[in-house]
Symmetry: C2
Subunit: 121 residues, 2 copies
């Protein structure tokens, strides 16, 4: 399916880092199975596999905060992906542009771009 072969491991998943191509920000880390990678390439929109809901998941299908995927990169071992994306709205369900909006010490370093109450019912 891809020129570089992927190692989906025992659980059939690879971790995926999503990076905003404009700002360079790392906006989220999620997981993809083979189908999610195929759908991402087919549609140009980021797809993942939700481990909690146990299903294929198109980012932004509910919120409208989709990710247009400009490029998919793979790491040296073929067991991690980097989606280089153009993010509509915010990537995080909490309303922040990036899920990595805090330091370990709890300092807020990210920007809130929407109110989740307005987006999710």
């Amino acid at each position: 399916m891809t020129a570089v072969s992927l190692d989906f491991g025992d659980d059939g998943l690879v971790p995926v880092v999503a990076q905003d191509v404009e700002t360079g920000d790392v906006v989220m880390l999620a997981y993809a199975n083979e189908e999610a990678v195929a759908k991402t390439r087919e549609t140009g929109r980021a797809h993942y596999y939700s481990r909690s809901r146990d299903e294929l998941w198109e980012k932004g299908a509910t919120s409208g905060h989709t990710q247009a995927v400009e490029e998919v990169r793979v790491d040296c071992d073929g067991d991690a992906l980097l989606y280089r994306i153009d993010q509509t709205g915010g990537a995080c369900h909490t309303g922040y542009r990036s899920c990595f909006y805090r330091t370990l010490d709890g300092e807020e370093v990210g920007e809130r771009v929407f109110d989740p109450d307005d987006v999710y019912e």
Copy 2:
């Protein structure tokens, strides 16, 4: 230990994205256990947990290609970390600055910064 509590999951690990603070490049994805996070904070140098060698691992201990950690960020769910680092040399054992040096189609997009034969015996 940290103001934001971490979810190390069933295997005691969290995925860690390492991002170069100067270039914004995502240079690698690895894993950390609680000890690796503590060592990283204590020393200011990136520590991970090697799943293949089953041991704590200081990045660059062999190669000299250490990562000075400026900041550790945590994601919304507390189950992924972002090390914001200053990379000495290259992050990848193949000699590239970033482990994500190829697209899924096999196109080389990364820069090679050292010859692994000179670094690893």
